[in-house]
Symmetry: C2
Subunit: 244 residues, 2 copies
């Protein structure tokens, strides 16, 4: 069965509550595409056709090192779009995109969409919001990778997931990991082995309870605390900012 482009687009931040005819116009340049599980949508270096909106399924966007290690930048589900920035920068996608499950997407073609932007400032401004969110996420990822160890990243991810779903962060709250542990490990910038050990440690410390993909928060208080009882700052030197 086929999914209606207008219905999908209406759910995206980018196109939501646009005048009906704008929406139909956008839908008219949206190319439906279906993928099997573990299928490439595009690869780094591929020529940019446009950006994508996920109608159903799940997609991971990632970078790949020469040795074959991957860093997941984002995992997207229905209603989310990706590769928007590729429209405005160079002619090639700067990362890989691959399905994690059977997936349907709409490709919004570059040329028609850019033309639309000129006539619809409102859409351009929404797009600015989209890119800004992406940018914030990426700087957050940089911060994670550079300034936090794996355990801290994992904790941050868990509380972020809870928040995204509106689940209050308190003892007993549970959530289901939205994708496989291997993918999550890569999203957190580590390998499955290290990730597994981090999960185990948190469990042994009595902070969470793991049963498969189900995580139960045992001690919400300790989730937020840096490292149980962290010591005071160590390094001062050039570290303190704004000290004129």
């Amino acid at each position: 069965m086929t999914i209606l482009a207008t219905d999908v687009l209406r759910r995206t931040p980018l196109f939501a509550s646009l005048p009906e005819d704008d929406l139909r116009w956008a839908a008219s340049v949206a190319v439906p595409r279906r993928y099997g599980k573990r299928e490439a949508i595009f690869r780094e270096g591929d020529a940019v056709e446009g950006f994508y909106v996920v109608a159903s399924g799940k997609v991971k966007v990632f970078k790949l090192s020469e040795e074959g290690k991957e860093q997941v930048l984002h995992v997207l589900g229905p209603g989310q779009s990706f590769a928007e920035a590729a429209l405005f920068e160079g002619g090639a996608y700067p990362a890989y995109a691959e399905t994690l499950a059977q997936t349907e997407t709409f490709l919004i073609q570059k040329r028609p969409f850019l033309d639309m932007l000129e006539r619809r400032p409102k859409v351009a401004i929404r797009m600015l919001g989209s890119l800004s969110r992406w940018l914030r996420q990426m700087t957050g990822l940089v911060e994670d990778l550079s300034l936090r160890d794996v355990e801290a990243r994992l904790l941050l991810f868990l509380s972020g997931e809870l928040q995204d779903r509106g689940i209050p962060l308190k003892d007993g709250a549970t959530l289901e990991l939205p994708f496989s542990k291997n993918v999550l490990a890569s999203r957190l910038g580590t390998v499955p082995e290290t990730f597994s050990r981090a999960l185990k440690k948190l469990q042994e410390d009595g902070r969470i309870d793991v049963r498969g993909k189900r995580i139960r928060i045992v001690s919400a208080a300790s989730l937020m605390a840096g490292k149980a009882t962290a010591g005071p700052n160590r390094r001062t030197g050039t570290a303190e900012p704004g000290r004129r």
Copy 2:
């Protein structure tokens, strides 16, 4: 002496070759600000006033960990702008900005600028280009931090710098580091000690020659090669993308 806003804005990608009256209008909402060396422009969490264009001097934008370690996201010089994305996302800056030298900036205030965007789709589209470039840089930084060791990051930085200045990458090419080694270390996601050792190793391997901030490329060929003579791929597993 004071710098004319119009002259500065004209040099930025965002405002370049805009109609003269648009430019003057933008300049009229630009607030000039001067800072001493090592002075904070804003801190993470500060309320967003607008974004900044550097007129003279040098600014670093960075994240700070609880322990005081910093990760430099970008260093900006005259004609460059920063914190654009903060206009569209939340009300607080997501990072720190601090001068590296005496600096003059123009603050482009949020409210008037957003109003302008509605009337000037062209500016909005340029802004999309700006954000996309930022986004690409940040994903590049993520890739660096996650998938490359310090030595590789350093090499990549060096060849990137050469390219930015239009210096052909061949034996004997030289460049001057655009900022202190400590800042560069932080930009590369490491500490001064590790950075220093990486430089030393490259020199001992006969790939570059270091004299203070002056770097001379001794063996351009080996700059590009992953690690002199790298072996074939190791890990396969989930690594290879697009294998359906």
